[in-house]
Symmetry: C2
Subunit: 132 residues, 2 copies
Amino acid sequence: MEFDHAGIATDDLDDLADLYDGLLDATLAHEEEFDGLRVAFLDLGNGHLELLEPLEPLPGAEGAIPRYLDEHGPGIHHLALRTDDIEAALDTAREAGVDLVDEEPRPGAWGHHVAFLHPATTGGVLVEFVER
Amino acid sequence: MEFDHAGIATDDLDDLADLYDGLLDATLAHEEEFDGLRVAFLDLGNGHLELLEPLEPLPGAEGAIPRYLDEHGPGIHHLALRTDDIEAALDTAREAGVDLVDEEPRPGAWGHHVAFLHPATTGGVLVEFVER
């Protein structure tokens, strides 16, 4: 399974996108509003950085990213791996004894099918499977 | 600048390497002891996962990874981007107003030249530049 993207929670998407453009030459590949968030994908050539900013002001906004920002501040939120068959990947995860946040794939940003695994059973890493 | 690896702090490298082998088909590409750590690189095809386990028992071990494990528990510690010219990348970072943990490249695991940027100035992400 290949690297797809690293998901980064931020309270200032525009500022961070500008910084990573200059610092990493990671240019904006896609942007949308999704699930209460502004979401931007920056191109790394062999994958992306996904910047995630809550649409509602903090504190008080609901959802995983506002909660993460409240508790940890900005930073790396999850690691996404690319698969051609997300159903098979979820079956493999079940067989490995991994707890699933999403028992079935669901629509993610950029039209992807995604499913998250529970970090308590994956070494503290919030792993996302992505099928494009 | 391309994705090189995600660095993951763990207190049980063998267990996590086995899990990611089964879960992600990420096989062991390299392993060494470096700077007070057991370090394993798992192959993702377009990059690696770097697992980092302190050699000394916790708590009490010194260094960035033991400190991270003490404060946060296991999880994603840093994000590494690959460059062909790490000196130029550090100059770009300085010009962008980013604080450097390493003013000059230093030897990293797997014979790489590496330099870390201060997360307070990179959106909360501990960014590592890697020149192979």
